[in-house]
Amino acid sequence: MTTVESSLSRAQPGLRARLDVPRRITLAAALVVIGAVALLLGFIVWRGLQLFVASGVPVAQIFTTAWQPDPLSAGTNYGLLPFIGGTLAVMAVAAVIATPLSVGLALFLAEVAPGWARRIVQPAMEVFVGIPSVVYGWLGLVVLVPYLRTQFGWMGFATGFSWFAGSLVLSLMILPTITSISYDAFVVVPADMRSASLALGTTRWQAIRHVVLPTAATGVATAIVFGLMRAAGEALAVQMVIGNAPVIPTSLARPVTTLTSQITLDMSDATGTWNEALWTMGLVLLIISLTFVLIIRRLGRRSTPA
């Protein structure tokens, strides 16, 4: 082995260096990305901790509910619980709405749809992804919010701006994400598995329910987590319909707020400690995202040995 190599490199002295070029280019690209991520993480962590380090706000205070951020007024309190709770709540309900629709659609596309239906729905999904979030927000603002106010006022939708409106708009936005990732999970289930079930005299639905779904389960779970991650990060569209009330979410019909929408709302006014608190909110958002990344990686590991 070694002799072959050395005789080759003797024959062409420049070969080894030339063979090394692709490796160096790809390595450089990897280093740039890793460096950027590391800088970003480091920066957000450092700025996010200033609230505690520089301004001396006790860590426990962010787990309170009162949001009185303006340093110019007396008695500030940086309770982030309404934002954390709002983010999780809006995200969770969005996932509850979007998951059955997306997984159902993905199953339809992967298992049932004839070719022509797939050729219509797949570009439609891509259009869904391509619509800017401000358009979703605008539609929510001029169509959904007034509709909730006028038609469902009796259910407590006093203004229409609400937890439910935010979740509904978000669910539309994460639908394509969950659909396309679950679709991929379904189509990689070998055709053999379905045939094996059908050859045992089961119906097509039984084959889907008892073979395709369990086999693709980790893929579907990954899809949902990706959807949640996208939901946690979305700011603009949610901010336009959610009402932005810094309270702990208790009713789907009432306004709430989220970490992202509060950051976009406050960033032009916030100075000093208030500004630091916004960075801390960014850090919390980052921790939520990283948790999802960890969950996805754990899911990925679990599915590999099968």
């Binding site: 094996a196 045992l200 089961t202 008892h210 086999t215």
Partner: protein, 290 residues
Amino acid sequence: MQTLEGPEPVTPAKLAPLARPPLEAMSGAIGPDAAVKLHAEDVSVLYGERVAVRDVTLDVPEHSVMAFIGPSGCGKSTVLRCFDRMNDLIPGATVRGRVELDGEDMYAPSVLPVEIRRKVGLVFQRPNPFPMSIYENVAYGPRRHGQKDRARLDEVVERSLRQAALWDEVKDDLRKKSGLALSGGQQQRLCIARTLAIDPEVILMDEPCSALDPIATLKIEELISQLKAEYTILIVTHNMQQAARVSDRTAFFTLGEDRAGYLVELDDTLKIFTNPANQLTEDYVSGRFG
């Protein structure tokens, strides 16, 4: 041991040491009065406009093993899958002619394919266990057909695994071990057990040993000889010696000038391999086929 698919002519003398049961015992194993389990009459299968196999007429006697042999692409598997309506799943495939199970038209409008597939099991070319435990693999069919009683399921699983000669190798980790963690030969026997668990009357095997090593192949062949007592078996094989070893009757298919497969000759296995009526069969079994 000679090669499994050699170019030399296959003579009874050469087959004897491998034959199981011996060739002599096989001839005439099926009396003329044996009941006809499967019957095909003028069956043609089309994929879209293209005729894949044409005008096949054959009878499979009950409790016997019939082998389908012939070159690749001659429609053996296609004919096989007419008998459990698996061709229905291929878009654009049409089956013409008449196919009967116990004298009844399998393709009558009132017949549901799922009913046929409960009576006619299929073992695939590549072992395809489900990604679940050995127990769940075997219990899959009975569960889907409504069996909920645990004791009954335990019983079916044990019986099926014993019949498939896999019980002793897996009985200690039935529920812990995934079907996918078994060796290729074990996986194929698991697939056979899974089929047996739905209590079929006919078992179709589509080149069940082509992905297996010789030892695993031998085990499956022994199994086929044992299962014959209770089931009617149809096996597609590329391995002529396998056909000679396991089957009572052999059907030879080839590809016509029109690129459609057809049945050349069907006879007792001994006759097909020693004294076939058709020159094409003679050429194929003696290895003179292109």
